[in-house]
Symmetry: C2
Subunit: 200 residues, 2 copies
């Protein structure tokens, strides 16, 4: 049974929870609060030198970091990761888009607004985060006008990755009513059998 | 013959050039200068709505964005992308690490120092970029102490991705002599048959 080190309110960690629940795969979850320094201890850094959650640990001790790499590994051979080379490539495209053009703005806006004090210096970053995050949502809105999902035409790991921080984008100050197709796609994700919501 | 839209001095674009040269695969290259607005034209945005290079276009018109997704697609079935599930997962781990924990600091430090005026407001970002980029190099140094490469134990796409901005990190103000194992790994990459250097 694999073990996941993670923080339940982190979208990057939630992605892994969501996939495991959708797969109906048993797993252990070790609460690891990165906001309280739990990923910077010597013990944790020995597990993941990059000091981040989530981290997947297999029964034999092998360890895998990076949420989207974990998604691909766990989804291999399931309908959530396409076997077709081009569909797989398009899935990876959206997974890298999520980590480079989406999460650094939409997740960080949420972090700054929800977890930092209102007078913290980083509040000054919010307008730029909102602007760049809106560009990412625009790109998603355009894609989802012609296709139902982001994982090579079907529901899969790229949808889970993009859902993680899009569904709670309002926490960062985004008004999702500006992106009606994205909003409809969020509902399609929520309607998947065995869908599991993120912890509040 | 595939077409690559790219800027030769961009590490993200160079990754794709490097793989194609290593594979000995013929390709067309369309110079697309993102620093001069060439990725924000209506024509280019019709090809890649996210307005970035590189972009791979196949003969039948199919398009793929995101440098590391392009690497995986082109390397499928070659020795540069492991077939073994775990080695592939570890390769993806480093590809996501590169886009999330490495490129946003090491490539951006290079961009700010080399392409922006010395009195540009973004010069103020450089100390934090150097600090976070050094953390990424520390993580690489630790890994490369126990393995020769980053792509599941062998030379492959994760090495190409990490090489792209690591080898020119001095442009951003990093002193690579601090990371001797990384420096030795750079030489192992350069010694690969058909290795192709990045444009100056």
């Amino acid at each position: 049974m694999p073990t996941v080190y993670g923080l339940r309110s982190s979208g990057n960690c939630y992605k892994v929870q969501l996939l495991l629940e959708l797969l109906g795969q048993p797993y252990r979850w070790v609460d690891t609060d990165s906001t309280q320094g739990a990923t910077r201890t010597p013990e944790y850094l020995a597990l993941n030198p990059n000091g981040k959650v989530p981290l997947l640990v297999l029964d034999d001790g092998r360890r895998l970091a990076e949420s989207n790499a974990i998604l691909c590994y766990l989804a291999e051979g399931t309908p959530y990761l396409p076997a077709d080379a081009w569909d797989r490539a398009r899935t990876l495209q959206w997974l890298f888009f999520e980590q480079y053009s989406h999460e650094p703005y939409i997740a960080v806006a949420r972090f700054v607004r929800r977890w930092l004090p209102g007078d913290h210096a980083r509040q000054a970053e919010v307008p730029r985060l909102i602007e760049r995050g809106a560009q990412a949502l625009d790109v998603m809105e355009q894609h989802i006008g012609s296709e139902s999902f982001f994982s090579g035409g079907a529901f899969g790991v790229a949808d889970m990755a993009l859902f993680a921080y899009t569904h709670c984008a309002a926490d960062g100050g985004f008004d999702l009513s500006r992106w009606p197709r994205v909003t409809a796609w969020l509902e399609r994700v929520r309607s998947q059998p065995r869908f599991s919501a993120m912890a509040a």
